[in-house]
Structures are given as C-alpha cells and as structure tokens.
Symmetry: C2
Subunit: 296 residues, 2 copies
C-alpha cells in the first residue's frame, strides 16, 4: 500500500514539476536573479503532498484535471515561499533544504526575501486567471480560502507562534493549535480545494477540512519523529534541531512511543472522515497511512 | 490648488486609516506580536496616495464608495508590506520610516518578515471577499491585476533590479524601467482600479494606466529630489541615502534642474491623459501637480 501511494505521489510530482516550471519563466536583465531564485526555491524536489491532495480532492468531484493542476501549483507556490522565508537567518536559520543549500545560501538574503514575496504573489495570480475555472465565483472563492489559510490567522500566525514560543513549555493543546495554523491550514486548503472547484455541497467541503486536520497533525508528528530519529542524510535536511533549540514538539511532550501511536490514531481517524466518499477516495486513505510510515 | 488637494488627501487618509484598522484586528496569545506589527506597519501615517487614486478613479465611474474603500485598503496593505520588507537589514537597511523606527527595529526581523507576508496575503483576502464587489468576475480581475502589479513582473522585480543595480551606472532608460516596476506598477493598479470596479471600457482603463505611468515617474523624480535636497526632519525619513549608496537616480543622471523640469513635464503630460474625463477628474489633475511640488 505504501508502495502504491509512493508511485502515485511520484507520478504526480513529475506532473506538478512541469506545470510549476511553466509558471516560473527564466528572467533576464537585473531581475534575473529573482526569477532564478523563484525557480530554485520551487523546482527540483519535494514530495508535492499538497498538490497531491488538490488533485485527489478534485478527482472526487470530477474536476477538470488542467484546472486542478493550476490550483495544485498555487498551493505549492505558497508552500515553497513559506519554506524560503522560514529558512532565513532571522527565522529558523537553516542552511540545508531538500539536500541543497537554502535559497539565502545559494543566492543572498535580499533575493530570498523577494523570491518568497513573488512566489506568494504568483500563487494568487495563478488562481485568479480565467484558465483556473470558468466560473469567476470559484476563482474568487479559491483566492479567499488560500489567503485565509496562509495569512495571519493561518500559516503566518503559526510561524509567529512557533518563533514566539521557542524555549517555552507548551502543553499539548497549544502545540496542536500551533501546528494547526502553521501546517494544517494550508493542508486544509489543499484538501478542500477540489470541493471548491467542483462546487460541492458545504458539508463535503467541511468533511475534507476535517480529514486534512487529522492528516496534518499526523504528518507533523511524523515530522517530529523524523527530527528526533532520522539522520540528515535520509531526511534531506538538518535533524535534531528542535531539541537543540528547546522547541516543544509532540515528541518532546508525549515521548517517542506515545507520539507514534498518536500519529497512527490520527491517520485512522483521518480516513474515517472519508467514509462518505466511495473508492475514489482510496488514494487519500492510503496517503493518510503513508504519512505516518515515511522516513523522510 | 496645492492646498485643495492636501485637504482632500488628508480627509481621504483619515477615512482609509479607519478602514485599514478594521482589517487589522489586534491579536492575542503567541501571535499577538504579528498582529501588532501589522498594525504598526500600516496605521498612523502615510499620505495614502495610492488609496486616494483608487477613490478618485472609482469616482469617475460612480463606483459604490464602500467597495472602492476596500480596494483602497488592499493596495495600501501591499504598499505597506513592501516598505516593511524593503527596510529590512538585508535590503535597504533603514531604521527610520515616517519619522518612527522601522518595523524590524520596533519589533524584530522575523516579526517584520512575517508581518509583511501577512499584510500581502490580507490584501488578496480583502479583494476576494464578496463585499468588495457583487460581481465575482470583478473581484477576480482585481486580484489578478494587483498580483501582476506586485509580483516578479512588477514591484518585486523592480526592487530586485534596484538592489542588483546598486553601484552600477544606469542610463535613463534603465532607471525609467526600474521605477516603472518598483513604484509605477502599483500606482498603475490603483489608478485603473476604479475602471475595473466600474466595468469601464478597456480604453478608459488603459488611459488611467497611462496617466499613472507619467504620475508615477513624476512622483519618483520628486522623491529623488527630496532625497537630495530635503532634511530628514521634513521628509520623515533618512535623506541623502541614494548618493551614499551610489544609487543611480533621475537626479544623479539628469542633475537637479533638469530633473525638476522633467517632473513638471511628466505631471503636465499625466493630466493630458485625463482629457477624456470631465471635471470629475479635477482632483486627479490637481494631484499630478501636487506630487511634483511637495516637500515630503
């Protein structure tokens, strides 16, 4: 089962890679470095889990694949921008990402800041273009949902909370809220985007958000376990950093064993939200189990 | 005439201030600093020239003022985010803005980066909300136009060009292109936004962009003159910095006298684009003359 989802993820990643490249033209003149940094930050790596969620969610509602692929790219552009900014010296100060120097190391800090800004902006540009959906109401809904997931009440708020809470002993409620904002909100957008594109009834959209909520927490706990147990070589990024920084994580609070069983519980719970969908949701079910088994 | 437009600008600024405040709630918990930094970056100052352009442009087409005010806020949120990021140590490294410490000085760098990100995101959120216009096609058009003006082919590209060209001797063509991207694109969005909101014919939208193009250059030359001639006390920001950095400006290329006459010429040219509009465009005409006379 893990193999099947990995094959599907890999095929999806290749497709997303091509589509992302088309949204990120090479630049020329004095701005060339900006365009190069945007491409460097986005292309050539990543499991593309958020785009996968968009494509699978869209499949549930028979959404045109070309439309879904544009939304998949938009959410990945936002994810990649967030990584560029999070890696900056003033934030998490990471030198390694996906096994390569981070953007501010490969370019410089100013270019990294601007590349992040421009990737975020490009995401909204892609969503608003008529090709994304024939119904402008759907396009506006997508923009609104992505903005809410990414901004001060979503991902940016979560990153702020993460920085502000460094060295503090968060309880399980606080860390759940932190992760819900920092990673859960964008995963939630990806999972519900098919329902927006397919103009599905509201309860189906809510169901997919609930699925994403459990999936996102399971994913985060698995990430925390990789940080504790994994080697940098396998993980493709620096490991053991949370502990070195005194960051509270699910693992530091629950311990390795309880964290692992909690991740499995959340993955099971995630799949149960999908009961209202038929076998079209099998890949999403497989994904939920895969995220807690992965080693990187 | 200068007085009349200053009274109008001031009345507009007060209105925009209130509206912006409503889009920037105070936060609580660990993210409180993010919300506070967003408010600090946006509220309590600024001439609000871009919002003024939105309101005056909207007035030409009888657009509902509450709708126009939301677009005015969106463009100002983008402008304020760009100032926060441009002021960062890795970029222009400014300590003073509007007579106050810059955001990374009043808070810290991480909070400034996140506040900029969240302000940009909020701008698209505001545009996409149904209250901005009853027609979702208009909302999607606004998002698309703002994204194009702000991203890699607009403002971000201009800032990259500005950083990359530091110390190089740009010619007048290169510096015109730089300013067209860095400041002109967003001013162009503001000026055309009323035509988008009012679903005006394309030629009117183009006319307003042409007006904005000349206005934006006139504005930039006036800014360069203030940098050379103004004191920090009057300008409310550090002056003389362009020369200290070896930045090519209109003034360094043309000299003070030719730059001043070029600014006046551009202001005249800007107003001539408005000939197709009646007296409803008088404020925009006054603005064009005012921008080249101002001292801060």
């Amino acid at each position: 089962m893990g193999d099947a989802v990995e094959v599907a993820l890999s095929a999806n990643a290749a497709r997303v890679e091509t589509a992302l490249g088309a949204f990120l033209p090479e630049g020329e003149g004095y701005e060339a470095a900006l365009h190069a940094a945007m491409r460097y930050a986005t292309l050539g790596g990543g499991k593309r889990i958020r785009p996968f969620l968009v494509m699978e969610s869209s499949g549930l509602f028979g959404v045109d694949e070309a439309c879904a692929l544009r939304v998949a790219c938009a959410v990945e552009l936002v994810h990649c921008y967030s990584l560029v900014h999070d890696d900056l010296p003033a934030m998490d100060d990471d030198d390694l990402r996906r096994g390569r120097p981070t953007v501010h190391k490969a370019f410089d800090e100013a270019t990294a800041i601007l590349a992040g800004d421009a990737l975020l902006t490009r995401a909204f540009e892609v969503l608003a273009q008529p090709l994304t959906h024939g119904d402008a109401g759907v396009r506006a809904d997508l923009v609104l949902a992505l903005a809410m997931a990414s901004g001060a009440e979503g991902m940016c708020g979560g990153q702020m909370m993460d920085l502000a809470a460094e060295g503090e002993s968060l309880d399980i409620g606080a860390i759940t809220r932190l992760q819900r904002l920092k990673t859960g909100a964008l995963i939630g957008f990806a999972a519900q985007s098919g329902a927006i594109l397919g103009k599905a009834p509201a309860h189906m959209r809510h169901t997919l958000v609930a699925f994403a909520h459990d999936l996102g927490l399971a994913f985060q706990i698995a990430d925390d376990l990789i940080d504790v147990e994994g080697s940098a070589e396998v993980a493709g990024k620096a490991t053991g950093k949370d502990e070195a920084r005194g960051k509270a994580t699910f693992v530091s609070i629950l311990g390795v064993e309880r964290a692992r069983s909690q991740a499995r519980l959340l993955a099971d719970q995630a799949t149960r939200h999908l009961d209202i969908f038929d076998s079209k949701a099998d890949r999403l079910r497989q994904l939920a189990h895969w995220v807690v088994q992965r080693r990187n």
